[in-house]
Subunit: 128 residues, 2 copies
């Protein structure tokens, strides 16, 4: 399979797939002309990576998860640990964004949004 075809199949841009090879996540074969030739196993790994990235795992987490996936003697505890830590970080991020949202909602609703200069949003930002 050429990169265009696997890109279609996995939904990952060709650029991203090349990048994943650069950083050692995959190692597709090469044809005589230098073109990458992806096997089913590569497609499988790329799908795995795409899904993991969709769930927000970092590239380094993906690397770890992929290694665990390929290690038949892994302990599920190791996988769970990675996922739990990631979940915790997502929850932290959500809390942080929700706090921003609340403040912004207040400010936005308090702002007239007309052609006068008075603005509670700016007043809030400028308050000491």
């Amino acid at each position: 399979m050429n990169i265009g075809e696997i890109s279609e199949r996995t939904g990952l841009p060709a650029k991203t797939i090349r990048y994943y090879e650069d950083i050692g996540l995959i190692s597709p074969m090469r044809d005589a002309n230098g073109y990458r030739n992806f096997a089913e196993n590569d497609a499988h790994k790329l799908a795995f990576l795409g899904r993991a990235r969709t769930l927000g795992f970092s590239i380094e987490d993906c690397r770890t998860l992929l290694a665990l996936y390929e290690d038949q003697s892994r302990a599920s505890a190791d996988v769970k640990h990675v996922a739990t830590e990631h979940l915790r970080q997502i929850e932290d991020k959500i809390a942080q964004l929700e706090s921003m949202r609340q403040t912004l909602r207040h400010l936005v609703s308090a702002c007239a949004g007309d052609n006068r200069p008075d603005c509670p949003i700016l007043s809030d930002l400028a308050k000491s």
Copy 2:
């Protein structure tokens, strides 16, 4: 005021303050020895920037907001527009993270987390 003092007062790292000067958000005076000398107005702007960044505004948004803040003839509608758009993006991000959270919670709770290899998290990532 030297950079160390204003850093303390605003809570912004000196590195960040220098960076803000680099990108033209502030323009502190200089003493004869080359040291930056911050006036009250600089402190004020930095506090404004710190608060805006806390609310998640991008640097470019901050630049816009600062310009509006200093423009006595601004229309509050312009400010509100920036804030509303930012709020929308935050809400998008929250929704995306909440979706990740839900999936991850399911997967984590389904995983035994022991020393056996079976792992629903990996199974999910690997599913086509």
